[in-house]
Symmetry: D3
Subunit: 234 residues, 6 copies
């Protein structure tokens, strides 16, 4: 159902800015892999891991009675998380209710999950922040899930923040937001992004020395030669 | 998977305003069964029938290659329509692309489907209107489905225009828009709405005669007595 | 509480485009008197009359029990309309419910009201159109008022479609939408707008003859002389 | 006009998460009591107190001259605050202007008010934060009130952030946002929420020990027995 | 500055649905050429012609004095239209003001312009419709341009409805909305779209005969053979 | 092309709250000079300087090939910044992509620019914050510019966050957001705002002493006399 993420790749992605990964995805024909409108409220949060998914449908009394109470899909999804997983929730981009709170976040933390992403809200947001598991949401809101949603099913293909997500896709988040890497591209994108970051760092040093952007960002002509030389020796 | 709709109930619903049905649903604890933002561009359009459903996820090149081309879920959904069915499409309320066009609408018409509801757009809208099958959408837009969506699955529970819809729910539309009646409530709601319309028509006659709203809408006191008397004799 | 509208002024305003009135209001320091987002669904509808007002607050069960049932502020407002009045409703720009339907619209029609303006929806929209009273709303929606609102009070100062409205202000609507004229400006604006329309018509004739806009719209130099001459003789 | 808040109840509400209060309100048929879109910019802010209210209408030059200048309704509202009060402002959810600034916030602070809630913006936001009175607003914006509003009346029923508020309702805010408790429910909700928090804390301890959510959140079966036992002895 | 449009290509585009053109643009890597949110209020309107452009900036008193009065860029743009041209206006997608009215529309008509597209509003909309020049706008609104805009410059590259437009691009509109064809693609797209419409018409006939979508839309296998045969003989 | 800013005026503006400047602009007939929706993510950021401008148009493959790659207008704009300049970017208020990142921000910092304002997003937001140049944007987003934009031209009149900006206008930002002062008003506004802040500070002291707002804010009657006396002696 969902892929494990190689420890090296995970570490490489953790060292890489989401912006750099986003650029590499675009180069490969995937410009729309950002989970738009979703952020962490804890500065410096970093998230890497394979997606597990959860889909909600709109609240409706009869469906809520059947599917919303008891050991519903949401509770099963949290109990079923494995170490390193990222739970991604389709909440129809509705900011006007919470989609999980401190108790479920704690369960995810205890299981070693890497984080939670929801295009709806988080409730008990201060308590959730204290638990220390990275969470990226569209809003904070005190209302319970049932104000707007019925938890429906887990581990299917969903849309979160405008991006299609499948179990096993790799989710990466930082202060800029969240991107999703299709599973089959993860190694290639991780390598290319790490390489790009080296170039960006080298360029930044040149900029810091007072050089203009022209011809340097990205390196062309003599700057390209200099960079290639430097790259060979590092 | 989906209910057939008794011919008497269908006819009763066809004679009843969507506004009246909406009020009866609210009385039974279902205030949120309207497909918000969705309308017909053909004045006087009327729609009644059991729901068949279709779910899209966000466009993504790899998923589109696998699921969007060939005989995809959308095409299967249209080919699978039965006489009287209403196809309801979850397009994530995105107005910026079409979700079906004239060829698919024609197929639905040939199969005797009762109509199509989508919380996305319709393309080739003039040709679709000419075909004569009732269609209720959020927008008209020339772009093909693939600008925003990949057709994913059919005949599951979806959310359309903010309302959860299951195959077999009864969908009713007119100039006001579209409401969804949970299958188990349809007979009760159809009967109550038809009865309510009789009362509303009687009240309207009294208003037309120059009587004030006070005590008459809804009928109370002596107006209630008069209405009950009239109702017995009709 | 609310002004009567002189028959001559009413007729003058009826002959005048809302766009022209809007321009005259702007010239006098009132650029924001349009009820934004509100239109008639009946092409060619025209509305002129003094405002009566109705304010809703958000739905809440206890307030609805006390103020929403029985002979509430909404019903009193409709019963209290006089010939020529325009009822203006503050519905917090919420398109997701109706704010009046056919029975109340019929009452307004019987009383000779000039029309109804609401920054929420109208339900039973086809029946309301048949009644023939001009109605300008933000949306059509089948749900009853109580989905979102409690009728609160009438004939106070409200905000409708982003414009403050007082009882006695003059409301004018056509295919472009609705503007509100503060009571103390109505005569002045009506006269100026009628005069402006004469000039615009004269300019349009010159444009139709093939003359360029330059110097003609508005008339300057020799065009100004020609217009002044024409104006004197008409 | 407005209720005083029992010191015990106030303290109990202060100790309770807004999310828990929101859930208790929903259980009693009040799912829509959150002031949507309104937050404090100071992490950890907490607000409890009875509502005082202030209503704005849209800016209009003549109304502004009469009602906006001098000792207007806004200034009267601030001067009239009592120790413990929360001023709640209806600003039509418009983020594009300030609705109060540092001088008025200071006046509220000096009077011992518990806080300010507005569904518009706050200006001089850094200075307001320094004053130390809890403020929950939709936005920060430098423009003065008069860009969009005329202060109209105080201590009437208003709508703020989509929720109807009456003077004397109890307003509670924290990092999640703000909820409004109808005055007649405050004791019952405060007690139930405090009780619920005890259960949630006990559940959280069990989750922290590694137990799954299933059957535990909320406690059922043997977990229910264990919790009841624990609850009796605490 | 702007291209003339070959009469044959113009006629071909006039015969072709905007939806078909949109699909052909997407096939060539241009999925985002629709002017989103812009429609004609006159059913059956059709628009084809090379773009002329006009850019507005936000209203500001000093800039309005210098650039908004007199023979401004807007008036120059209208006076400068040639037979067959389409004027495309960047109005920052603001629906709350008009961007042209009946006098300017009449000037465009007299000059033989093919139409007007604006991502703002049209004022005097009924009069404009009577003039008979196709106009596609985001809204109808009575306010004058100066409520929100200052006309700035003409015949530069602009963004209208989310799509970049250059003078000489070919603009095509119908009931679905408006698309823009980059000048260098127009012949190729017109030919391909006309060809595609032949296939779609043939497919529609087969659908009308009762054949399923499977394998037929688009034609594959034996249907492909049949279509190719038919195509050769027509 | 753009004005230099007198060091005294710059310092005066730096000492003045944006809210006070906004009020002085409104008094002079400029109520709409705030860059709506744009904020710094670094609390306490302060920005003062003359505007340099950059305009983007919507992404389109052919325009991107010609104008987006190589030493494009964006790169030229950053390389061309002078000490004290503020770069203001028109990104059509689109939050779903970055409009500059850490390398360009570093270049601006090295050149001594006063800051960057964009009504789009910033990418690599944490790195940009570390660089320490004040940046005010609508959003943070990881995607590159090319997801939505083509850099088009620099140092022309643009619209950013709903306000028209010309090179040489003075831009001031703090925690409340950003305002633009037309170049010809800067000295007058800076002086008046500084003077107003003195009065506000004096009023705040009086409020802190427990005096009511009535008659004091703004000072009238005896308070006016007292303030005038104090003002003379300071």
């Amino acid at each position: 159902m969902s892929a494990t993420l190689d420890a090296d790749v995970r570490e490489k992605l953790r060292q890489t800015a989401v912006a750099t990964i986003s650029a590499e995805l675009r180069r490969r024909g995937y410009p729309d892999m950002s989970v738009d409108g979703v952020h962490s409220r804890v500065p410096g949060s970093k998230l890497v891991g394979p997606a597990r998914t959860l889909r909600f449908v709109a609240y409706r009394p009869d469906l809520s009675d059947e599917h919303g109470s008891g050991y519903n899909a949401q509770k099963q999804a949290f109990d079923g998380l494995r170490a390193g997983d990222v739970l991604v929730i389709e909440a129809r981009q509705d900011p006007t209710t919470g989609t999980f709170g401190d108790v479920l976040a704690l369960r995810a933390k205890v299981l070693g999950a890497a984080g939670i992403v929801s295009d709806g809200g988080v409730r008990d947001s201060a308590a959730v922040a204290d638990i220390g598991i990275p969470t990226f949401t569209r809003s904070v809101h005190p209302a319970v899930l049932g104000r707007r949603h019925v938890p429906w099913e887990k581990d299917t293909t969903i849309t979160c923040g405008g991006v299609a997500v499948q179990p096993g896709d790799i989710v990466v988040g930082n202060d800029d937001g969240v991107v999703v890497i299709p599973a089959h591209l993860v190694k290639e994108v991780a390598d290319a992004a790490a390489e790009q970051e080296k170039q960006d760092a080298w360029v930044a040093e040149r900029i810091a020395e007072g050089n203009p952007i022209e011809g340097l960002f990205p390196p062309a002509g003599h700057w390209k030669d200099e960079f290639d030389k430097w790259r060979e020796s590092h």
